[in-house]
């Protein structure tokens, strides 16, 4: 066996060819950064980091579903529900308009464990419907998306939840360092932790290999002795856990939660994954790619904001980026003709 070594220039050219949309968006950011002051400010960077961190967690969750040729449309609503439940649990005991007056104020870590357990449960339900009842993931999660939203409305009575425990908000939105000079938000470390965890999971464990195998060819994986049903169920459970963590963080970041929170996040997460090279045909996708995809998508938002584009146009631009990214991605596979 021989290994071909590429020169650094070839590697860079190769990356540009393989990821034109990423390169284009980064270039746009650099140009905006040069022309608009404050773009390259520490504050703006941290803003980007915090936004990206939460979106990254959701995208990590969805990535497993996408790699196995599935999807999870319930992601956004699960994030919303986790945020609302967290909010209800950590409402201050002395807060006037508590949702459930008789409920004790929970410790923030206990609240975290509760929403994680619930996230795993919802993921288990998704996975079980998909693998045991053989309902396609698209339909399954379309259904559970609606159900989860319904649960959220019932729980919150469609009212915003506020008055959170201060310690909870401070811990989540806190930072290392001094605001005036150098600082890093805790969220960065949370994202880093989960990023490394997923990298390990995807590259170094049986679960990861089985996941790629199922995405590559589910029949062949089953015949090779992979317990495909249970592996898939675990993937959806893990996704649920990630949505729960994201919801938990998001509620603190926003300082409040409502049933509308998280709406559409699944689409952003799927878009981020796809821009980052998770293939819609299954079996392909990396944690690094997901990070780049999400980062680029968040960067796009900030660039548009700095350019002073009417926010109503944002959706049009974002939608175009998604379609173009997938079109370019698919080209790699059909170019062989």
């Amino acid at each position: 066996m021989q290994k071909t070594k590429k020169s650094p220039i070839e590697a860079i050219v190769g990356y540009i060819k393989a990821n034109p949309i990423v390169v284009l968006l980064v270039l746009a950011a650099v140009i905006v950064g040069i022309t608009k002051e404050k773009f390259f400010s520490w504050g703006n960077l941290n803003n980007l980091v915090s936004n990206t961190a939460v979106r990254f967690l959701i995208a990590l969750g969805v990535s497993g579903c996408l790699i196995t040729k599935g999807t999870d449309l319930s992601a956004g609503r699960q994030v919303g529900l986790a945020a609302c439940i967290t909010g209800i649990l950590v409402q201050r005991a002395d807060y006037a308009s508590r949702r459930f007056a008789n409920l004790p104020e929970f410790n923030m870590w206990v609240a975290l464990l509760i929403v994680i357990a619930l996230g795993a449960l919802f993921g288990f339900v998704n996975g079980t419907i998909i693998t045991r009842l053989h309902v396609p993931p698209f339909i399954t999660t379309l259904g559970t998306q609606t159900i989860v939203y319904g649960i959220c409305l019932v729980l919150t009575d469609a009212q915003p939840i506020g008055g959170f425990n201060n310690q909870y908000i401070k811990r989540v939105t806190g930072r290392i360092g001094d605001v005036k000079s150098f600082y890093i938000p805790y969220l960065f470390f949370v994202a880093l932790f989960f990023g490394l965890l997923f990298w390990f999971l995807y590259n170094k464990t049986r679960h990861g290999k089985y996941m790629y195998a199922i995405g590559g060819n589910e029949n062949a994986a089953e015949v090779s002795g992979v317990n495909t049903a249970w592996t898939l169920t675990k993937i959806y459970m893990l996704a649920g856990v990630m949505y729960a963590v994201a919801g938990y963080l998001l509620a603190a970041k926003a300082g409040g939660a409502s049933s509308g929170l998280g709406s559409g996040y699944e689409l952003e997460a799927i878009a981020g994954c796809t821009i980052g090279g998770v293939s819609t045909t299954g079996g392909i996708g990396t944690v690094g790619g997901v990070l780049v995809g999400v980062l680029v998508f968040e960067l796009l938002k900030i660039v548009l904001q700095f350019l002073g584009v009417n926010p109503y146009y944002n959706f049009i631009v974002q939608g175009l980026v998604i379609v173009v990214a997938v079109a370019l991605d698919i080209r790699k596979y059909i170019a062989k003709k």
Binding site: T4, K204, Y212, N217, E222, V223, S224, G283, I284, K337
Partner: protein, 503 residues
């Protein structure tokens, strides 16, 4: 006027990194069968795809009736009288036979005098007509998905005939056909020949080529080797020209004698009463048990039942006297049974994943550190060992398996199973779609495994392979085991007579 109906000259086609065709030529006479031969990857299918307009040639010319022409896409090819039956059929199973045949060119009529609608009556009448022409007796309104693969193939041929084609490309048409169906196909080909159609026939089966071909064109590694009248060729001369070297032995010498019985199956029946039933057989240590029968004899289904991908109702499986309970592939694997499936692409390779991932996927438990972390050095060692032992041609362990040739993919899959060190190895058509050179290598691997004391069950639809490799042959017909053949008795005639013992 040229004597050739269609002629291709100096055809070149490159794909990134490979020159698939290098100045290839082909001349088709009207009313003849032209066999196109070569190992897998020699460029036969690529050449045909150029002729049919699926690929655009980089260089070269096509002449029809001596006039230079260009073929832009399959639609264009059909208009010019060229039709192709693909290696992998692409039918729409949920629609009727008629709809499949007339897809894209439905006969129309005007409802109420002005609304264009599909004329179903005419469509099905025409379909019935066509089916009669290819000697197939189906209801045109039957769903295509209800037919067998071979019947679908006949429908594809009917479709090609319906386009009034002058050139018909048949790409490995008999790879999934039974002997009877092959005969039926040959009759259709004869009819078409009489009508002046030129037929390009791609196949690996020498006996077929020698029987029906008029001309033989041989390709090797994208190069044109030559064209000869089929009457001047023999199996040996074709193979020699295809592989570019002499092949002395078709099958390796078997060096071991089967020992004691280790694996026993008793009264094994499917939950589907039409599938395998009351099957009993045993298998010795170091034995190669060939399994013969026609397509539809339920051989694959039986093996899938034993391996746990299909359910069974009654029956016991014993290994060394101990009962085995197998309800899913994982159970079988854990108890030392492995199965190389028939459909390499459908249930074998993990196409987009690497060679290393493909080899290791079913034995990952062995490469764990601390019970959780996969040790990539151990996996690399496994890959290296297999690459060397089986002479797998791959640039590296990181290469996507789908970019390897069929033979090398098959070796990787064999490696996947051997990594688990199974005692019983079920091989379902292990050499299907593999070229002659690689076939011999696979045979050697199988013989070597038997010599190591592994017990092997090998399904094969190639008679010579069954006879050449097996210690004993079990023949099935319509879900039942109809007999066992050994030694001198193992002849083509005996196998056929057992395989056709319908109740």
């Amino acid at each position: 006027m040229s004597e050739f109906l269609l002629e291709m000259r100096g055809v070149c086609k490159s794909f990134p990194g490979v020159k698939a065709l290098d100045h290839v030529q082909l001349q088709l006479r009207p009313g003849s069968v032209h066999a196109l031969m070569g190992e897998n990857g020699a460029g036969k299918s690529t050449l045909m795809k150029c002729m049919f307009g699926i690929y655009t040639m980089d260089e070269g010319e096509i002449y029809i009736d001596g006039t230079k022409t260009q073929i832009h896409d399959p639609m264009d090819a059909l208009k010019k009288g060229i039709a192709m039956v693909h290696q992998e059929l692409q039918p729409i199973p949920a629609r009727t036979i008629g709809e499949n045949i007339f897809l894209g060119r439905y006969p129309m009529k005007k409802a109420l005098g002005f609304i264009p609608v599909v004329d179903h009556k005419k469509m099905y009448e025409d379909t019935a007509e066509l089916l009669k022409k290819v000697r197939m007796d189906f209801d045109p309104r039957q769903k295509l998905g209800e037919l067998s693969v071979s019947q679908m193939q006949s429908v594809e041929i009917a479709k090609a005939v319906s386009a009034n084609c002058r050139v018909l490309i048949l790409d490995e048409p008999t790879s999934s056909l039974t002997q009877n169906e092959v005969e039926a196909l040959f009759r259709i080909i004869d009819d078409l020949k009489k009508d002046g159609v030129a037929i390009v026939y791609i196949s690996h089966k020498m006996d077929e080529i020698l029987r029906i071909a008029d001309d033989v064109t041989i390709m090797r590694d994208g190069q044109y080797i030559g064209t000869w009248p089929a009457s001047e060729m023999t199996t040996e001369s074709i193979i020699t020209k295809m592989v570019g070297r002499e092949l002395t032995n078709l099958y390796p010498k078997r060096e071991n004698k089967p020992a004691e019985v280790v694996f026993e199956v008793e009264n094994f029946s499917s939950i589907n009463p039409k599938s395998f039933r009351n099957v009993s057989f045993n298998l010795r240590k170091g034995e190669i048990l060939g399994v013969g029968g026609l397509v539809g004899a339920q051989r694959t289904e039986l093996m899938e039942g034993l391996f746990g991908t299909r359910s069974h109702t009654t029956g016991t499986i014993r290994y060394k006297g101990k009962d085995m309970k197998i309800n899913r592939p994982k159970d079988a694997i854990d108890q030392g049974v492995a199965m190389l499936t028939e459909d390499r692409r459908g249930s074998g390779i993990l196409g987009v994943l690497s060679v290393a991932d493909n080899i290791s996927v079913s034995s990952l438990n062995k490469y764990l550190d601390f019970g959780i972390m996969l040790n990539s050095r151990k996996i690399d060692a496994l890959v290296d060992e297999n690459v060397q032992k089986m002479n797998i041609k791959t640039p590296s362990g990181k290469t996507q398996i789908q970019s390897l040739s069929g033979g090398n993919q098959q070796k990787v899959l064999v490696g996947r199973w051997l990594a688990n060190d199974p005692d019983v190895l079920i091989l379902d058509e292990p050499t299907r779609g593999i070229d002659v050179g690689a076939k011999y290598e696979i045979y050697c691997i199988i013989a070597d495994l038997a010599a190591q004391g592994k017990s092997i069950i090998m399904i094969s639809s190639e008679m010579s392979e069954l006879i050449g490799m097996s210690d004993r042959i079990m023949v099935m017909c319509d879900g039942r085991v109809t007999g066992f053949l050994e030694g001198e008795e193992a002849t083509q005639e005996n196998i056929m007579s057992l395989a056709t013992q319908f109740e």
